[in-house]
């Protein structure tokens, strides 16, 4: 074993440039593969976080105008959805987990000397579950009693809370909204949210739907927000909701514009597929780089075998087993590529560790080298280096000692 390592050092010394280039190729290949896998993983996790940001598999519906005549009624009719409709859907739609109405308006917010224009959303308690609005410690979300009693309570986005209160703890404070005093009952826990409609949740104020209706006199919802029991059944649920609404408001069940639906799970699915294709593509490029490195190793080993032909011949003549000659050369190849691979993985680790400092985490996520990715990289590396070492090693083992000694 020790002599094999000594031999390896001797060989690499006599082939400095080639060794360097080969090692570089292997480092490059390993770094490419593992880094791409790491970024893919980070990006995927970021995506998962974001889809949880708007809510997992949330559907947003917005009542609009009919796009086709139906049942003797003209197209272009406004469809108006109220709380009764929401109640109907809640009762009838199959596979529905939560639904909430959503009313929107803009109000002026006063707190001490501060005056801000904020987006106010009137909602039902289910809204918190669907849209992933989790209260920070010490607070709570709008509840059924608030709704029933049309209480003047509010739940606010974390960014807005900081803007208004600074270091003061917001829960329990009273602020003025459109001239009425409101009690702050909760502040949203910080969350990642990249997709939104009408602004990010972190800058909004949420109050009971009933309270908002009373203040504005609105009768009809701005949006309906709901989610399916099972994310995979979201498509069917949307169809069902459309049918229920079509029957009630007399529009065609095929009219996709009467109430527009945004299926966010569709988005996630699409991005997931895209990501997978992207990862396969990048992984493929990484593997190709490794193959090039492997060819380099194969090349260097062939030269080493050629240079050492006479020595191999002598060793065979003295009774070295062809099998052990083969093992020696295979070992040298593996050692060379494993060295390259280890350096490559270390580089990837360093990049993963320094990446968060670049502040790009919100857009592409933090690269993460999972054990599975590392194992996959190692497997590809091992396979390629074995193949690239095998042929030169076999050539060495199959040398004819008589001819080899004459070299």
């Amino acid at each position: 074993m020790l002599s094999i390592i000594r031999q390896l050092i001797r060989d690499t010394k006599s082939q400095k440039l080639r060794t360097f280039l080969t090692l570089f190729g292997m480092i490059w290949g390993t770094t490419a593969v593992s880094l791409l896998l790491a970024f893919g993983e980070g990006f995927h996790q970021q995506l998962a976080k974001e889809s949880a940001g708007i809510g997992n598999g949330v559907v947003i519906g917005w009542p609009s105008r009919t796009s086709m005549p139906y049942d003797g009624l003209n197209k272009g009719r406004y469809i108006l959805v109220d709380d009764e409709d929401i109640g109907l859907i809640r009762k009838k739609a199959l596979g529905l987990s939560y639904i909430s109405s959503e009313y929107q308006t803009q109000y002026k917010l006063h707190y001490k000397t501060k005056i801000l224009a904020v987006g106010v959303t009137g909602i039902e308690p289910e809204y918190g579950e669907i849209r992933n609005l989790i209260p920070q410690e010490g607070g709570r979300f709008i509840n059924h009693l608030d709704l029933q009693m049309k209480r003047r309570v509010l739940f606010m986005g974390d960014e807005l809370a900081e803007q208004v209160f600074g270091n003061v703890s917001p829960v329990g404070q009273t602020i003025n909204l459109h001239g009425s005093p409101f009690l702050v009952v909760g502040v949203m826990k910080k969350k990642q949210q990249n997709s939104n409609y009408n602004g990010s949740d972190k800058g909004k104020v949420f109050i009971p739907a009933t309270t908002l209706k009373m203040m504005t006199g609105q009768k009809f919802v701005s949006n309906l927000v709901f989610a399916a029991d099972n994310v995979r059944d979201t498509g069917a649920l949307i169809k069902d909701v459309r049918h229920i609404m079509a029957a009630r408001h007399r529009f065609s069940p095929d009219d996709e514009e009467a109430i527009g639906f945004w299926d966010t799970s569709e988005n996630a699915k699409f991005i997931n597929t895209l990501m997978l294709a992207f990862r396969i593509f990048l992984g493929g490029i990484g593997c190709l780089t490794m193959v090039v490195g492997g060819i380099g190793i194969s090349n260097i080993m062939s030269v080493v075998v050629e240079e050492r032909t006479r020595e191999i011949g002598i060793k065979l003549a003295l009774g070295a087993k062809p099998g052990s000659i083969m093992v020696q050369f295979l070992f040298e190849t593996l050692a060379l590529s494993i060295a390259g691979g280890i350096i490559g993985i270390i580089i990837t680790f360093l990049i993963c560790m320094t990446f968060p400092a670049l502040n790009l985490s919100d857009t592409v996520g933090d690269p993460r080298l999972s054990p599975i990715s590392a194992a996959a990289t190692a497997a590809v590396l091992g396979l390629i280096s074995f193949i690239s070492g095998y042929f030169p090693a076999r050539t060495a083992a199959n040398l004819d000692p008589v001819i080899a000694m004459k070299m």
Binding site: K315, A317, G319, K321, P322
Partner: protein
Amino acid sequence: MILGSFFNTQKNNQKKENDGVISLKGLSKVYDTGKVKVEALRGVDLAVYSGEMVAITGPSGSGKSTLMNLIGCLDTATSGSYLLRGEEVSGMSREALASIRNRRVGFIFQSFNLLPQISAFENVEMPLIFGGMPKKNRKERVMDLLERVGLSERMDHKPTELSGGQMQRVAIARALAMDPDIILADEPTGNLDTGAGGDIMNLFIELWEQGRTILVITHDPALAKRAPRQVEIRDGNITEDIRRN
């Protein structure tokens, strides 16, 4: 030397039981280079007994080295039979042949064939490593061998720091390392001047007197005459086989 005589008697006993250490029957070798086929050996019959010393002579290209390589299991015959100590060698695998080369044959070449990067000690040690001898036993064995060829002082020298005669002594020590059944030397004095060549020949005769079985190829008639048996090869056939006393 007690050990030496032990081997000696054992080898003499074997002589009675078997035909000999080496027994060749109708051995032929054809080199097929694609375009032409060269018949280097044309059905050679030869028996060599334990403790014999045989000088092999003949003109250039007559097939001496080919014969030596076959006997040394460096190459395999095209047809015919080769019994080494009664064991059929033809048809053996490469691994098995490697094992025979390691344990039963000691080969000495005209061009020494020492590894230039390593010391005399390490060169002699090589067959022992291949033979799987533990490290602590190896050291003693190598020192003993180098002493026998008179090179104890030079054990740390690289081959390039040695004279031709000294290199060939290292090669002989290496050939003796595994205590082989036969010593084969292909023109061992070919690259040496007369003085050094004579010394090497003396060493072979000394080894023969200690009971070794030795085959030596030589072009030098004077050296050949010192061997008790002389086999002449011409054109792939044995043309003469003389025993002197």
